[in-house]
Every structure is written in structure tokens, then in C-alpha cells.
Amino acid sequence: MLQEHAKIVQFISMANEVNGRKKLQKMIYIAKKMNFPFAEKYELHMYGPYSEELTLRVEELCEMGFLAEQCVDKGSYVQYSYHVTEEGTSFLETTNTPHDLLTTCIDLLNVKSSRFLELVSTLLYFDHLETDEQIAKVHIVKNKLNFTEDEMTAAFGFIDELPKCSVQ
């Protein structure tokens, strides 16, 4: 019970801290694509894969006191960062341990920028398509973000690396 909540707390605990709601959304999405068993359902929103369930789950975890949310004013925008509280750490003691590879996956993702993960997750959302179709879709969905060719190349390179932290 509360296993799905525990997985999110575990994830943030292993990341130590996640800066940005968008970043958290994309990190969980990519981890899910790597077959880690997150139950949150994602849909494509105007700016890429997004899970309302995850947003609500994180809100619940903050309200329970297992996660702390910090609001940082970045000038032109506000960023929320998340870390696990003491109570959250005690809660984790009552839950199952995660898959070994999850640490590798989180380490790989957490050092990347939110913008980069947004691109990677959107490309992964269209991974059933041919490469040129994937790129075309990204340009349609994210026409305002103007991703460069270099960013696309880096994103595909990163996607090629992901299998090393994928659960078979």
C-alpha cells in the first residue's frame, strides 16, 4: 500500500534533490520508458509528456510531509525544488528497495538541464516513429523552443546511452 507514493519519494531521495517540476516530470517519464515500474500515466501536453497523476502525487507527498517543496524565484520565472524530509526518510524504511539500476538512471538524468530532458522525453514519446518523423514532431510540438541541430544530436546520443540503465 502507498507503493506508488513510496516510489516517488525513493526516486527523489536517490537524486538527493530535484530542481524543477518540469525536470521531475521528465525524469520520471524517461525512467518509466527505461521500464522502471512507475504507475503514473503520461499524456502529451502542449510542451511534451506530462503526468497529472504525478503532479497530484507530489502535491500529496508534500502535504503528508514526506517531501519538501522549495520555491525559488529565478527572476523571470519561479522554480520548485524537491527533497525528502526526515519523515519521508522514515517512511521509506517501511517500503521495498528499488532496482539497483535506478541509481545509474537518476545519476544520468539529474545532471542534465530541464530543457534537455524536455527534448529527450519528447523524442522518446515519439520513439515508435522514424528519426526524421520524430524530429518533425518535436518541431511541431515545441515550435517556440527552437531546438538546434546540435541539441538534437546530443539528445539522440543520450538516448543511445540510456539502455545501459534500462530494466530488461
Binding site: 507514493h5 501536453h45 497530484l56 502535491e59 500529496e60 511541431i140
Partner: protein, 432 residues
């Protein structure tokens, strides 16, 4: 005349309790409605298990789909047509997408998708693009037309305004389901002045926006969403039915995977248990089929599946208790242990349910650009995010409210507590 421009000799109308009449003049729309995949939506209830609480809530996704189509038709024909920001070449694709946006929903789709890890949006795409009657009709418009409709529904269509009519924070989908669900459940929340919203809706390059003078109508709409969520969609009894439904499907899957021989072979489920299903297997399912299996499984030798099915069919639902995970998460482990000792499998008889298990998109004013907010068009022509102008929306969009419950078979515990002292202890723990 090209098929896409063909009109019916006489306009067809569907009587509708929410919009009074649904008008169909386009031959394509009429033909789509007649396809087997669209007719299947008559056999999928819009609100799943809610009819077990609000007995009127037996309305189908067929009705809702027609309603969404009608709202979009009114927006285009009565509001947008002739305005420079609107391209009338997009009319047919927008109407088709409105009509077909829920095509991939399965029986009791929320529960079914959860257990079998499916996604109705994926099936909508597959039905639109596969070897289906709907695809055949759409292809008569143009070989790329099914893909265009799929792109609008999948939110990857280049014209963002078109997408926003079907899926945004103030779209035809929500405007129909709020009113329709309110009508059929009989509740007094959920009503708002849609006519007013449609009158003040304006097309822009990126999305439909609302004239500032219509702000109060939009406030009402946002309040309706908020009320309907807590009063109808997250009603604890309806949630009880849903958790039982999920557990029936889990149990049946578990039994199949462990070689159990059903007295009535679950032919329709086998490919889902094994994840070998084809599109046709999915289209063949509807709620009557599931309910038939539940009736039959009431007589299964496996007492858990039989009991859960009996409960669902005869509305002998689980009782719920408030639960505060922040302070009581350790209690759950103790309860699970007690259930085991008392001979009740906690996997099926002690179930937690949180508000995040039924995602509902509370209005959120565009946090970190994740979602496009509702914009008001100010008298100066500038756009302003709704909660900046509306104190009411600002108040409810910033507030968090969550809810957690534990579901359990109180009837069993009450009946057996004289014979089994553990039952009494469990009841005491659950109620305190």
C-alpha cells in the same frame, strides 16, 4: 462534389438533453457516426462505476462524443467562421477530431487500463489509422486525412488553435462532460453558462481565448470542475466500486497466470492476460461483456474472485475509513499483518485510495510552461492569464486538497467479530 464538401440532403438532428439538438449536415460526420467503432461507444459508460452511486449516471461515451462535436460545431460555425484568425479549411478535421476524441476508450476504462497497463489514447490512434470502418470513411476525404485527425487528437497537429478546441484547460471535451455528468447524476453543481462562454470565445494563432467580459462565466466553469471532482468523480462509494473492479481484474489475471482453470474460460481476456491482444480483441470488448463475466465468475471455485464479483454485481461494496498517511503509514503494515492472521488477503481486502489515483486536472496557471493556461483577452487586446484577473480562480487554483481512504469489507468483519476476536481488533484499528 468532393466527399469532404458533401452535405446531407436534409440536416439530421439528434435530440440531446444537454444541448437540445445536435446538428449534422456533413455527410462525412454522418458516415463516421454510423461506423461500428463509433457505435461501440454506446456500450461504454461515460462515468464507469459512478452509476452505483448516482443511479442516473448510465450515459455513454457515444452521447458525450456527439456533445463534444456539437460544441465544436457551434464554436466554429457560430463564432469563429469568417474571423481572420480562423482557417475554414480546418473545419472538417476539427469536427472529426471532436467526434472521435474518445474512440479508444475501453470498458470501465480507468480500471481496465490500470490493470492491463493500456492507454486509450493509443487505441484511439490505432482505430483511426488501422483497418477499421472509421478509417475507411476518413480515407474517402483524403489519404492523409485519418492521420490529420489522429494528429489533432494526439496534440501534434501544426494548427494549435484546432488542438486547443479539443484539449486545453477550457475545451469542448470538458464543457460537455461537466454539463452532461451533472445532468445525468442529477447534482446541482457542474452547471455553467456555456452559451456565454461560446459567445466570448475568440480564436488566436495559438489557442482559443476568452474576452475579458466573459470572465465570470469562466469562473463558474472552473468552480464547476472543482465541485464535480469532489462531489461526483471522487465520491467514496464510486471509488469503492472502482477498487473492487480493479481487484477483480487483478485476481482474474493472477489466476490465469497461475494456471487456474476457470469454469467459464475467459476467452475475451486471454490475450490481455498474455499481452498478445490485437486491435480487434480490444474493439470486441465492452461493458456488457465484462459484466457478463463478473456474473459468471460469482460461481467460480476461487473464493476471492467469486466474492469480489458478487460484491460488484450486487453493490455490496467495501466501507471506507479516513486515513492520514502522514501519521498512519506504520499502521498500514500492522493492519496488513492482522488481515493475514485473520485469514483475509490484504492484497484484495485492504485497499488504499488517494485523490491522485483519479487524476483530475485542477486549473493550474501554467506552472513552468507545463500547460497552457486560460487567457483572457483584455480590452487593450493583450492576453492575461485567468488567475491574475480572477480572485476566485486564484483562490482555488493555489489551494491543495488531497484525500486518502482505506477500503475494507466491514460487513465480513462485523458479522464475524463474535467468532474471530481479530476482526474486532481490526475494526477498532480502522475506526480509530
Amino acid at each position: 462534389m468532393a466527399y469532404k464538401d458533401e452535405k446531407l440532403v436534409e440536416e439530421k438532428v439528434f435530440k440531446d438533453p444537454v444541448h437540445r439538438y445536435i446538428h449534422v449536415h456533413d455527410k462525412v460526420i454522418w458516415d463516421v457516426i454510423g461506423t461500428r467503432e463509433f457505435q461501440r461507444l454506446r456500450r461504454i459508460k461515460q462515468l464507469g462505476t459512478t452509476y452505483l452511486v448516482f443511479h442516473g449516471a448510465e450515459h455513454s461515451r457515444f452521447q458525450h462524443s456527439l456533445g463534444v462535436y456539437e460544441i465544436v460545431r457551434r464554436i466554429i460555425d457560430d463564432g469563429f467562421s469568417g474571423r481572420p484568425e480562423w482557417n475554414d479549411d480546418e473545419r472538417l478535421v476539427t469536427l472529426c477530431a471532436a467526434l472521435l476524441h474518445d474512440l479508444g476508450h475501453g470498458p470501465f476504462s480507468h480500471a481496465f487500463e490500470k490493470v492491463f497497463n493500456l492507454d486509450h489514447e493509443h487505441f484511439t490512434q490505432r482505430i483511426l489509422l488501422g483497418d477499421t470502418e472509421v478509417n475507411a470513411v476518413l480515407r474517402r476525404v483524403g489519404s492523409d486525412f485519418p492521420q490529420k485527425v489522429a494528429d489533432v487528437i494526439g496534440k501534434t497537429y501544426p494548427d494549435k488553435l484546432v488542438v486547443s478546441l479539443i484539449s486545453s484547460q477550457i475545451d469542448a471535451d470538458r464543457m460537455d462532460y461537466l454539463q452532461r455528468d451533472a445532468y445525468y447524476t442529477g447534482v446541482s453543481y457542474g452547471h455553467f453558462d456555456m452559451e456565454r462562454i461560446l459567445r466570448v470565445m475568440r480564436p488566436t494563432e495559438e489557442q482559443a481565448v476568452i474576452k475579458y467580459s466573459g470572465m465570470h462565466a469562466v469562473e463558474d466553469y472552473i468552480m464547476s470542475r472543482y465541485q464535480m471532482y469532489w462531489q461526483v468523480y471522487f465520491h467514496p462509494v464510486s471509488r469503492s466500486a472502482e477498487v473492487i473492479l480493479i481487484k477483480i481484474l487483478h485476481r482474474a489475471k493472477y489466476l490465469h497466470e497461475n494456471g487456474y482453470v476457470f469454469s467459464h474460460e475467459p476467452v475475451h481476456f486471454r490475450s490481455f492476460f498474455d499481452r498478445t491482444f490485437e486491435l480487434e480483441d480490444y474493439i470486441a470488448l465492452d461493458e456488457s461483456i465484462l459484466l457478463t463475466y463478473f456474473q459468471v465468475w460469482m460461481k467460480e471455485e476461487d473464493t476471492i474472485v467469486a466474492d469480489l464479483c458478487y460484491r460488484f454485481i450486487n453493490r455490496k461494496l467495501f466501507q471506507c475509513a479516513e486515513f492520514d498517511p502522514a501519521t498512519e503509514y506504520r499502521k498500514i503494515g500492522e493492519l496488513e499483518q492482522l488481515f493475514r492472521e485473520a485469514g483475509l488477503d490484504p492484497e484484495y481486502y485492504l485497499l488504499a485510495d488517494s485523490s491522485s489515483d483519479l487524476p483530475y486536472d485542477f486549473y493550474r496557471p501554467g506552472e513552468e510552461n507545463e500547460r497552457i493556461p486560460i487567457y483572457l483577452q483584455m480590452p487593450t487586446g493583450e492576453l492575461s492569464e485567468l488567475s491574475r484577473s480572477s480572485d476566485i480562480v486564484d483562490a482555488i487554483s493555489g489551494k491543495r486538497r488531497t484525500d486518502h481512504k482505506i477500503y475494507f469489507p466491514e460487513d465480513v468483519l462485523l458479522e464475524g467479530k463474535e467468532q474471530n476476536p481479530l476482526y474486532e481488533r481490526i475494526l477498532h484499528m480502522l475506526k480509530n
